[in-house]
Assembly symmetry: C2
């Protein structure tokens, strides 16, 4: 009888096939396959052999298994078609002259109507708390922050900032919220546009500084037509 012998130390043909099957199965059924299902689709007649391969894939670090649990396996890292999403509520619209809404502490993302999903892998682990919120930019008011009409800005609530962070700040004299890089200087604060073609705003120490949040991400969907 013909036997497959793995020449190289790496992955054999069957390892690859199993990996691909798990990924495609999970894409289709939204849950992992059972050992027997893997066997059927990969022409492996014994569950013990599938188990044997899964053990190897686990040793290779390509798979994680929850023993004793039905379908308790998942592809590790980049092979997993299903991944963690952060559900970020879109609280409203930001535009010149409008204050930005702040999420109430009892905010429940389950009942939020408008949310955007962000792959958790895109976020630094520090920001993965559930207090993130998003705003949709309306108009050209954020153009000096390199942010276009329609962009989605993801923010983390904050009342203060460190040098170089982009913050949403309420400008009392202009009666608007805007996005700028924040710098503390010896005689006050400098709010620097992201686009060097625009001039910074200088605030004296005695002027009120009302930071609403830090920008952690900007997302622009370009599927619509521009003007």
């Amino acid at each position: 009888m013909m036997m497959m012998v793995r020449k190289s130390k790496g992955l054999g043909e069957r390892h690859q096939k199993i990996l691909e099957f798990i990924a495609s199965y999970q894409r289709e059924y939204k849950h992992p396959p059972s050992i027997r299902e893997i066997g059927e689709h990969c022409k492996i007649s014994s569950t013990s052999v599938v188990n044997y391969y899964l053990d190897q894939l686990e040793k290779e670090g390509l798979l994680e298994r929850d023993r004793k649990i039905s379908r308790g396996m998942r592809l590790v890292g980049n092979n997993n078609p299903l991944g963690d999403l952060l559900r970020v509520p879109v609280l409203g619209v930001i535009q010149a002259g409008e204050p930005i809404p702040i999420p109430p502490s009892d905010f429940n993302p389950f009942t939020a109507e408008d949310t955007v999903d962000i792959a958790a892998s895109l976020m630094p682990s520090k920001e993965k708390g559930k207090d993130l919120f998003a705003l949709q930019v309306q108009g050209d008011s954020m153009i000096d922050a390199m942010i276009n009409d329609g962009d989605i800005v993801v923010l983390k609530p904050a009342q203060e900032a460190r040098n170089g962070e982009m913050v949403a700040v309420w400008l009392n004299d202009r009666n608007e919220t805007t996005l700028k890089y924040f710098y503390k200087e010896k005689d006050g604060y400098r709010l620097q546009p992201a686009n060097p073609a625009y001039k910074p705003i200088l605030l004296k120490k005695n002027e009120p500084l009302d930071i609403k949040g830090k920008v952690v991400m900007v997302i622009r969907k370009v599927d619509r037509l521009a003007v």
Copy 2:
């Protein structure tokens, strides 16, 4: 004995609790809980009652179940912490004076070293093919396209474009690839920067127009410090 009676037709406290438990369990263990595990954490002593609630949640359209399959349940839509990701390969860097790389047809996302995950829900369904690719912007060369140093641009391969679409186009005379809105005009083409503070580029009909791809998304992570 005290019984919970659902006054409103909507979700009761227990429905909510079960929903939240499934989400948190799935976030932690990467697979759905069993009926008995739900019961334990939600103080429901009978598996039949959990089943009873799951049926209701399914009828409400908040849950999908694969009967007969262990842990065969998933939260529907926005409640599901695990979702479809698009694995977009980052093929390289785009900067003034550099041509952008084009993905070879035999490109295998499984072996790609550098990828970004995009929540599938962020993409219009049309673009969900696997031929998307991404580029990292280096330098300020794309500043007129409202794209900053470090931004990630997601592109769909294309050789032509319709009016109003943002394209990556090779400018032969300038010896660089750039991102502009595309417009066809009667005597040629107009390549319009996204920022109205910059002037458009006008191309005559006889000048070569070399479109590399259409921009479908721009992602800016603002966790780093700016200059």
